[in-house]
Amino acid sequence: MTVTDLVSYEDALASYDPVMGLEVHVELGTKTKMFCGCSTELKQDANSQTCPVCLGLPGALPVVNEIGVESAIKIGLALNCEIAEWCRFARKNYFYPDMPKNFQTSQYDEPIAFDGYLDVQLEDGEIFRVQIERAHMEEDTGKSTHVGGATGRIHGASHSLLDYNRAGIPLIEIVTRPIEGAGARAPEVAKAYVAELRELIKALGVSDARMEMGQMRCDVNLSLRPHGREAFGTRSETKNVNSLRSVERAARFEIQRHAAVLSSGGTIVQETRHFHEEDGSTTAGRIKDNAEDYRYFPEPDLVPVAPSRDWVEELRKGLPELPRLRRARLKEEWGVTEHDMQSILNAGAVDLIVATTEAGAPSDQARKWWMGELARNANETGRGLDELPITPAQVARVAALVAAGDLNDKLARQVIEGVLAGEGDPDTVVEKRGLKVVSDEGALSTAVDEAIAGNAAIADKIRGGKVAAAGALVGAVMKATRGQADAARVRELILEKLGAEG
């Protein structure tokens, strides 16, 4: 492998105009596979979720999963696409051991959805419209594990293990038209598009769209052309980029690499590229000349899909509020900046905050906990916010306890820590750890008296009008009560007892 010399991003853009095409595969969250009744649950024993159909045994026949079709239509509608009145599946023929039939049941020239667009919002608030060429239905392949090689790729492996649990899981492939005019912002557009698409898919409830689990995968096709030229350059296809950040990095790297090759007089080879998380680079995969021939033809084992217009309209009516519009509404309701909203989105906190407010917490409190203490914990433990063992209702309860004066911030953090540690719900943690704010006036009064007695010099200063010195006494009381006192009330009592005006 030769190390590619890159030109700087700025220099690349000074000479060339990037054109991108993004192909996103989404694994649908249907209970069963696309063409048989096998479960789609992840992380099961190898080959435990297979049957004659998804193993491609002789004689077995596919039957279309209606929920799969429904999901595809919903995605198409949400992407402002036309929905085909009549379309067929097609066979894409090629040999690979993880594909049981040695053809993939897909769609070719008759996709279920076509001619749409998705508006995506860039970080500065600008809206960029990405044109959608098509969204079509297909099935996933099995999974090969190559054993014994250095790279985990087939080259050099001693043998390969095949798991067909994934074979036949429904996929929707969403293909953009060439994205032109993004200029230097192309990588940002790519990331924003995939992010928006992911939100959309989640909002539709058709998939969890977890990129880290492979439920959503992006191929970044990219080419450069000199400024002013209309014809596209030769593209590279960076396959299976599996995070938002990687999508952006892959596009950026390819812009720099293409520019380096082109400006040194070389030509870009049409090939697939592998993306490397470690350093953000890509390396060459297969050459994709036009000799590759999938011999598509209409799948004779399936009848055409002809969704009735009534059904399509019914699905259109049932579409949820689009994520971008919902975010705009929430931003308004919560009174946050565009930047904050973007952070909330990036942290995957939008739905959690909404759920917390629905459980009774004020939005600022909900935001404060999810974007503060909980985001920190998630970050430290390498989990997603929604993977933390705490529910929006529990967060709302903590907020309620603070609002009622039963907890202060410091105690509330301890309660959350307890919930995350599996000690029970907030009230149980408060109970078990004895974390209630000391609001018993008698006990508090005694503690204040003791603090005044033990810090006579400071008490004198306060009596003398140096109200600011009260902080030290408050600290002493808080220490004595192990933080369980309401600091504001303590301060009031101190000033009261020392005859000073707050």
């Binding site: 004659p52 193993l55 491609g56 045994l57 002789p58 004689g59 077995a60 026949l61 596919p62 039957v63 279309v64 066979r91 023929n93 040999f95 051991p97 049981p100 039939k101 040695n102 053809f103 390969s160 095949l162 021939d293 011999r295 598509y296 033809f297 004779p300 084992d301 399936l302 009848v303």
Partner: protein
């Protein structure tokens, strides 16, 4: 007590009646047929696998049911020979190919399940051209089958094992599959009855695919009524086969019991005669048309010009689909595996296995189909063939505006000698000249005996073609023709076959 030589000549309807009445037990019937297989199958080679124990167990279960006073179905206890293309959990399923030698599927085909549910006794699996590609059964990887009329001649194909089992009295019922004529042409050359139901009439789930848009399983028997009884048992909608038709099964048994052509309009297609048709075949066909007239039918001459293109279209569509359907035989999951010595790549093992496991005709069609689907050739070949298919369907539609059924010879010649066409694929393909248009259009057709060709004394088949989902018309006409011929001959045609 009925002796074995009498039992094996009974029809399925008669056997079922005698078992139901207690005159015969299912075990007696099964044993008689197993004994016949023991006696003649070494010569005929109709079977690839005989399931003696399974058959007797099923027969005993039927007898136990009867003793317990349970109601028996119309085919309970009747033995059947199953083409080795339907999956069976308890028997190997080879499709006549080395590539699946010894493969025992983990599941039963829908048709297999229906036979079991009807208490039919499955004797075993019958020989066939590899992957149903052929018209002589010579393409079987397990050796040819002899025609019981003359063991040096072919029994038709691909379902030659099933037709030979019927004609040699090894079984009163058999199952075939018909992609281009593989039920009807074997029936014609063995003097038996075979029906290709409407496409979608019988589930294809568990039937190893050759050409998915053409393949259709169906009944084979020695009489029209027996075929109808079997048709009814195996037909009907199957949620596991998207292409199976969700509508009531046409009333085939009722039609077979009420044969008549009185007042019917019967079409004779101009394109189904001429060069390549044996004189004796044409003679018996013309006599059949006269017979239909005498029975009260009106004969209508039809012109179906696109039928001349059917064979060409078929040999693009069927190989194209087969090239894709047979891709799964890659040595990775089941069946033959050649060259896996730890040093070769998966691709090499796949290539070596396919080289060793597929016969010449299968390879020929895979190569043809791969080529026809290639980019740059798709429109000229596969695309044009699909257009021809539409034209043929339209010709049938127009024809059926004028007539109720169409008749033709089933195949242009009588059974040819084994080996005669083995090295001449084009000559072999011509055997399906009259049967292929029906597969391309998806409608239904039957072949039944209409006499012996004077020049060679071998059976000639009459084909009856009906519109889709009007399969009952085949039986109504077939039963009338059969009754008239048996009356004329004084006995069923098969009586004239030499004893084995």
């Amino acid at each position: 007590m009925t002796d074995n030589s009498t039992i094996i000549k009974l029809t399925a309807a008669e056997i079922a009646g005698k078992i139901a009445s207690g005159e015969l037990t299912a075990v007696e019937v099964t044993e008689a047929h197993l004994a016949r297989i023991d006696a003649v199958d070494e010569k005929v080679h109709a079977f690839l696998h005989i399931d003696r124990e399974g058959a007797l167990a099923q027969a005993r279960a039927v007898d136990a049911k009867r003793e317990a006073g349970e109601k028996l179905g119309p085919l309970a206890g009747v033995p059947l020979a199953l083409k080795d293309i339907f999956t069976t959990k308890d028997m190997p399923t080879t499709v006549g190919s080395k590539i699946l030698e010894g493969w025992v599927p983990p599941y039963d085909a829908t048709l297999t399940q229906k036979l079991r549910a009807a208490d039919v006794v499955i004797l075993g699996k019958t020989n066939m051209d590899e992957f149903a590609m052929g018209s002589s059964t010579e393409n079987s990887a397990y050796g040819p089958t002899g025609n019981p009329w003359d063991l040096t001649r072919i029994p038709g194909g691909s379902g030659g094992g099933s037709s030979a089992a019927l004609a040699s009295y090894e079984a009163p019922l058999a199952i075939g599959t018909d992609t281009g004529g593989s039920i009807r042409q074997p029936a014609a050359v063995t003097g038996t009855v075979g029906v290709k139901p409407t496409y979608g009439g019988v589930s294809r789930y568990g039937m190893v695919a050759f050409s998915s848009s053409l393949d259709q399983g169906g009944p084979c028997a020695r009489t029209v009524l027996d075929a109808a009884l079997l048709h009814e048992a195996i037909a009907g909608h199957d949620p596991l086969d998207s292409t199976s038709i969700d509508a009531p099964v046409p009333p085939v048994v009722e039609a077979a019991r009420n044969g008549s052509v009185q007042g019917m309009r019967v079409g004779v297609v101009k394109q189904f005669r001429g060069e390549g048709y044996q004189a004796g075949v044409v003679q018996r066909f013309d006599e059949s048309v006269e017979l239909l007239k005498s029975l009260g039918a009106t004969i209508v001459e039809l012109d179906c010009p696109s039928f001349d293109l059917a064979l060409s279209a078929y040999y693009l569509i069927a190989p194209s689909e087969c090239s894709s359907n047979l891709a799964r035989f890659d040595a990775m999951r089941y069946g033959l595996r050649v060259g896996d010595d730890g040093t070769k790549s998966a691709e090499d093992v796949t290539a070596l296995t396919r080289e060793a496991g597929f016969g010449d005709e299968v390879k020929r069609r895979i190569i043809l189909g791969t080529y026809a689907l290639s980019s740059g050739y798709y429109d000229a070949y596969y695309g044009s063939a699909q257009k021809v298919r539409t034209l043929i369907t339209q010709d049938f539609e127009k024809a059926f505006e004028q007539v109720d059924v169409i008749v033709s010879p089933t195949t242009p010649t009588t059974a040819f000698p084994i080996g005669e066409r083995a090295d001449d694929p084009m000559a072999m393909y011509l055997a399906d000249l009259c049967t292929i248009p029906t597969n391309l259009a998806g409608n239904s057709a039957m072949s039944l005996p209409c006499g012996l060709a004077p020049e060679d004394g071998l059976p000639v088949g009459l084909q009856i073609i009906a519109p889709a989902m009007k399969d009952d018309r085949l039986y109504k006409v077939g039963a009338a023709v059969e009754a008239a011929f048996v009356e004329k001959w004084g006995h069923p045609l098969l009586e004239e076959a030499p004893s084995l």
